[in-house]
């Protein structure tokens, strides 16, 4: 049979953002997939070097429209680390509340998109209806539905009143019921099972090799979650489970996300019921540094890494963002191979991709000064050493 190459993207109705997938088909089966990014490079990192630390909160928040709080928080953590600011407990709690609400909203959104890709539009409408509840809560707490802008350097911008806390707890009650319903629908409904089970398989060793992160990795049995392994904010004080699945397919990713929503509700309840009192922010200096910092944040899509270098002025010297989709993108080629063309949009959607967040440009200059490429092994050894300095041992992974 002759091979046919079908381009999926960069502009394609099944993709919400531009990304290119060159699929070589034999009949209906995908034999080979070539992935390309870079259609929506916005130059966020460079733009950050021309703005002051306060302006950058809003700029970096806009790296992603869905995990906006994740990026902003990872960034302010870096600034606070360099400036050695002690963030008040209440501010940490509020950051956590917004972060977990964001996870709920992101997972509900994904569930709807997945339903839509499967051809189950009722699920799409149901889950997006329930997502409105979360967005309403976020609107009331922060003043916006998507770009919450809750963070300031040294704390948060708005306090939460007791009525708001009560209202969010009420919303959680409704949501818990709805999530339970989705878990039943997701695990029993034959359309969903037929379209997701055994589709886009990513075995554990491949997931590890390709550095899959977040729900994508956890659905392949990679038991990793920054919130537990390298706790930030108040995550070391709350009790929650890291959800993993061994089915390694799209179904597993659906189950992981659905059960993670239950855990998010659990975390939210614990924080809301034990809100620390006190200030919500400390005063931050205008000029930061010099110094550098790296921080990780468990975004709804996986591990989000931010690096910041400060040089003592009011603008950063360098900002580097590693969005979770970049880590997960590598596995898409593997998952597509051997599946059918009709499953391609679903497999791509299953990593919950954010192509625009991922688009970065790097300039590698050779021949001047010292430069080199680190192998995976060296990089791993280096990062284990770095984390040992912070008192976390990752050598057993």
């Amino acid at each position: 049979m002759p091979k046919i190459t079908v381009p999926l993207g960069p502009q394609h109705p099944a993709l919400k953002e531009p990304g290119s997938f060159m699929l070589s088909l034999e009949g209906e089966e995908i034999k080979d997939a070539v992935l390309r990014l870079g259609y929506n490079h916005r130059g966020v990192e460079k733009a950050a070097e021309a703005r002051n630390y306060v302006q950058n909160i809003y700029l970096l928040e806009r790296v992603c429209g869905i995990c906006s709080h994740a990026h902003a928080t990872a960034y302010v953590h870096n600034v606070e680390e360099i400036a050695q600011l002690e963030v008040p407990q209440r501010a940490k709690a509020i950051r956590m509340i917004v972060g977990e609400l964001e996870r709920l909203h992101s997972h509900l959104l994904w569930l709807g998109v997945a339903g839509h890709e499967i051809g189950f539009d009722t699920l799409f409408m149901y889950s997006w209806r329930d997502r409105e509840l979360v967005l309403d809560a976020l609107e009331e707490i922060s003043g916006n539905r998507v770009h919450y802008s809750m963070n300031s350097i040294g704390g948060v911008r708005r306090d939460m009143s007791n009525e708001q806390i009560k209202k969010v707890l009420g919303i959680l009650k409704t949501l818990e019921k709805r999530i339970k319903y989705y878990i039943t629908v997701g695990t029993e409904e034959s359309t969903i099972l037929a379209r997701t089970q055994g589709v886009g398989v990513l075995p554990k060793d491949e997931a590890l090799k390709r550095c899959a992160t977040g729900p994508q990795g956890r659905a392949s049995g990679v038991d990793r979650d920054v919130r537990r392994d390298n706790p930030y904010l108040l995550y070391d004080k709350v009790d929650f489970k890291v959800i993993t699945q061994d089915s390694c397919d799209v179904f597993g990713r659906l189950v992981v996300r659905a059960l993670e929503m239950v855990e998010s509700c659990k975390i939210l309840k614990q924080v809301l019921e034990n809100m620390p009192s006190g200030d919500i922010a400390v005063k931050a200096p205008i000029k930061i540094g010099p110094g550098e910092a790296v921080n990780r944040y468990e975004a709804p899509r996986g591990e989000d890494i931010h690096y910041l270098k400060a040089n003592g002025t009011d603008v950063p010297a360098r900002v580097k963002v590693r969005a979770p989709t970049l880590a997960n993108f590598e596995s898409v080629a593997y998952m597509l191979e051997g599946d059918t063309l009709a499953d391609a949009p679903l497999i791509i959607a299953a990593i919950d991709p954010c192509f625009s967040c991922t688009d970065r440009m790097s300039l590698v200059q050779t021949g001047t000064g010292k430069s080199g490429i680190m192998s995976f092994k060296e990089l791993r050894a280096y990062s284990i050493e770095e984390y040992k300095k912070k008192g976390i041992d990752f050598s057993k992974l």
Partner: protein, 141 residues
């Protein structure tokens, strides 16, 4: 419960449920009072410190002095320079409604309103010029 039966139950329940979606623009959505939309400016309070301009992430706000030509007054033989007066111009097409300007203003001259219906057919209409009363008065003269 068998699947068809469950589907029927869902269907019948939905027949009597209220619509979730609103009929915008016939019925307006309820906007929370905490919502950050169009920025309002109180010209009488502004001291022209420019903190809002410095921290605006979108470069959308401008504070412009309006009374450069105002003469100093003579009181008991002393000349007192006129109090500086400012107007505020916000480009609504650039503004991202983050509210940083309202947070940073030391005299609370700026505030967020809940007016979110700001779309327009021409760009000029999006330049929101919030004048100081001095400008309109001096024009009348």
């Amino acid at each position: 419960m068998a699947r068809p039966l469950r589907a029927w139950r869902e269907l019948v329940k939905n027949l009597f449920r209220k619509h979730v979606t609103g009929q915008y623009p016939h019925t307006k959505p309820v906007i929370d009072k905490n919502y950050r939309a169009k920025i309002l400016f109180d010209a009488n309070k502004c001291i022209g410190c420019n903190i809002c301009v410095r921290n605006c992430p979108a470069d959308a706000i401008k504070i412009i002095q309006v009374n450069q030509d105002e003469k100093p007054t003579e009181v008991d033989g002393k000349t007192i320079p006129a109090k500086r007066k400012f107007k505020c111009v916000i480009d609504l097409a650039k503004c991202v409604y983050c509210g940083q300007c309202t947070d940073g203003c030391p005299v609370k001259a700026l505030s967020s309103s809940q007016d979110f219906e700001l779309a327009h057919f021409n760009r000029e209409a999006l330049i929101d010029e919030m004048k100081h009363p001095y400008e309109t008065e001096s024009k009348k003269k």
